[in-house]
Symmetry: C2
Subunit: 289 residues, 2 copies
């Protein structure tokens, strides 16, 4: 809401690129007018780290007083808070766009983000049946293990078509660079969070063309990354057809109004989310004790 | 040298501006190819802080492994390392450009940077006679106190003309927005470090016009801040007349070759200095123990 209402000051993302070993670092920063803090997030991807037994993602958040510039906290989260805020945004999208009774939740991808998305959905839907699909069956089996004794009933889907047939709430969380979903049934909501860089894509333009509502977190960012610009470039989605999720959350625009609508939330992540999760963690934990 | 030889990767500076209270935050970052680290520096100015008993400047440096992205150190220097690296650069400029026997060192300004510049000059000149000038005589008197029992013989200059008459090595360290120096004698070197923002100026264009060598730390930065672009805009200095100090340090271009030359070093500060001082502090102290 703050972002869509222009209350967030979010300068262009800083970027540092490395060769040998290949890596990239992104610096996202800003503040929400009226807040007591400004936040700088550093997020890195060092893609040969797994060969060293280290995760490829890393990072931290710095929280400063907006009144004095004094450093209040270093949140050495190594990327965890980015994962959490991304999953939280998925739940917000589902709250406003997913059908009340999706029958089954479909999770595409079997990584950390797939698990966090599912965990957060527990707060916005009563559905507890889950189908998961991933490229690597062993990884899918391991992924299902973490939900073995929980509230969700998680089964592996033989293929994406089966998942699409049974699920009316689908979350895509993969690093795919070619579409995984070509079509969905009436009444389906899809949240796509995997395509955070220009070369990534999870949804065919036809999926967005069939949607009654296409919501994004940032319209300006959707011009160059995520699913929307692909569909626009393909001539399947009109320029200006997408709306910002923040305007739906604020009530300015409607969310899902009819059971048979197809809705898409294409989330690429904005610094406002980093600002807010850093503030929340600081105020709820560090500052409170 | 690394910067002038294109070995430093230094993206555009990130900037965050605030109103009420007025403040600005700058994020400088980058790495030197072949180094083991990348560095992010946050430097802030919160201009109403003195009313709260806090310094207006603040900041920190983050040092990460360039190989894995792992955070190696948070240097919570609150701006001190920026002060130190700026003063060290002044000494480097004096080493290559100041006359061997300047007779007297002239310091214009009476703040922290003025003191650090003088302290660093002890390493590159044998001159120990100093004249200082500042707008506020009480502040100048207090400033002189810190050198009372040291190796320098520091006297207050009645006016800038007196200082210019007696000193052949002059350092300007003020936040002036109009020229303080209009002319200097043959054989004088001036290092100007105060004008780090576009609206600041310490040297009249005539001073640069009279110089045999005008050196800057960054040619690209000198197009929009510091003294050079003022002199170019005034038609007193040819475009392309300034050279980078790094090319003098590397021996590619000559420094001072004759006693009567007038030389100017106009330093606005580059991220390479932040990278190197963070690395030096980390390797010499944190990492060594």
């Amino acid at each position: 809401m703050a972002y869509s209402q222009g209350r967030a000051v979010v300068p262009p993302v800083g970027e540092l690129l490395f060769e040998d070993p290949p890596a990239d670092v992104h610096i996202k920063y800003g503040y929400v007018r009226g807040d007591g803090y400004y936040v700088i997030k550093v997020a890195s991807g060092f893609y040969q780290n797994p060969q060293l037994g280290l995760p490829s993602s890393n990072g931290l958040m710095l929280l400063f007083s907006r009144h004095t510039g004094v450093l209040e906290a270093v949140l050495l989260d190594e990327g965890h808070l980015t994962d959490v805020r991304t999953a939280a945004a998925g739940a917000v999208a589902a709250r406003y766009l997913a059908p009340r009774e999706p029958g089954c939740i479909g999770i595409i991808g079997s990584g950390i983000q797939a698990a966090l998305q599912l965990a957060n959905l527990a707060r916005v839907t009563s559905c507890r049946k889950v189908l998961v699909w991933g490229r690597n069956p062993d990884r899918v089996a391991a992924w299902r293990e973490q939900f073995a004794n929980g509230e969700f009933d998680v089964a592996a889907a033989a293929d994406i078509d089966t998942l699409v047939d049974r699920c009316r709430l689908i979350v895509t969380t993969t690093p795919a660079t070619a579409p995984l979903l070509e079509a969905v049934h009436a009444g389906t909501h899809i949240t796509a969070v995997g395509a955070d860089a220009p070369h990534k894509q999870e949804l065919a333009p036809s999926v967005l063309a069939a949607a009654d509502i296409v919501a994004v977190d940032s319209l300006s960012q959707s011009d160059s990354r995520g699913e929307v610009y692909r569909a626009v470039d393909a001539g399947e989605l009109g320029r200006g057809a997408a709306v910002e999720l923040g305007r739906i959350v604020s009530g300015e625009l409607p969310g899902r109004t009819r059971r048979e609508q197809i809705t898409v939330a294409d989330l690429t992540g904005v610094a406002t989310q980093d600002i807010e999760i850093a503030r929340a963690v600081y105020e709820e934990t560090v500052h409170a004790h």
